[in-house]
Amino acid sequence: MSLPRPFILELRCPVEMSILSWIRGVIAQTAAALGLPEEDLSKIEMSVDEACANVIEHAYPDPPEEALPLTVRVEAMTDALRIMVCDSGVGAGDLRGAVKSIEEYVEVKRYRGLGTHIMQRFMDEVEFVQSPGEGTRVCMVKYLTPPNATVGSA
């Protein structure tokens, strides 16, 4: 049975790598309960994992003052799943740091920038919003029906 929509789920987390598997589990269970196909479920789980790992790795060079500075907000709407990963740190990267293709990733041999590439590739929309002193918000959207789908007439 699919979950009723809309609903909002918000997770407040510490910036510790050990929290990643728990976040993945919550996201995967939520996406599965919405009746999303297995492939979309994996794509959403991985995109959220990458966004959260960026925050944990880059946003707080010094220990944060807040106990739970990483927020993952899931908005399950009737037409889309919107997920925001927010922090109040110094910046967790942006789209400019992403590799353009796997070929570039392999060629350059730095093995960086794949996480952002994955978010762009696996989600229908990705936006990084950065404000000085206010941290970074990564907004990702997965449409529950294809964004360009049109309703056919009988």
């Binding site: 790598m17 050990s18 990643l20 598997s21 993945r24 492939e39 994996s42 794509k43 991985m46 994992d49 990458e50 790992a53 944990i56 790795e57 796997i102 990733y105 392999v106 041999k109 093995y111 960086r112 794949l114 996480g115 994955i118 590739r121 696996f122």
Partner: protein, 118 residues
């Protein structure tokens, strides 16, 4: 909770080939353990590795980067990395991103051994 375990053995038929079986998930949290394990093997002279992925439930970009780095280091020393039987979920991730064209993937240890001998 950290769910990541590594089991290392040598192939009976090719003792210079090391088989690393991964269990759990390879993500930004556990990748340091994986790097430490492979660093030790390479320092001890290993250049041919079969990575048994039958027990790996998830891989992130950090894990893929570690596999790419390992493959590059082994090739530099005249060796090779072969991935053995990834779980359906891990295979799908690698395939969607195009890494099944980059890595050697095998269905059996015999097949992996053949690639490492060639």
């Amino acid at each position: 909770m950290k769910t990541f375990e590594v089991d290392i053995r040598s192939l009976d038929s090719s003792p210079d080939v090391r088989v690393i079986a991964l269990n759990g998930y390879l993500d930004a949290h556990t990748v340091a353990d994986f790097d430490r394990c492979t660093d030790e093997l390479i320092a001890a002279g290993t250049v041919k590795i079969i990575l048994d992925l039958q027990g790996l439930s998830y891989i992130s970009s950090a894990g893929i980067g570690a596999l790419m780095g390992l493959s590059q280091r082994l090739k530099k020393d005249g060796g090779e990395l072969v991935l053995l039987q990834p779980t359906q979920k891990v295979f799908k991730i690698l395939d969607l991103l195009g890494f099944t064209r980059i890595f050697h993937l095998c269905d059996s240890e015999d097949e992996a051994e053949q690639i490492l001998r060639s």
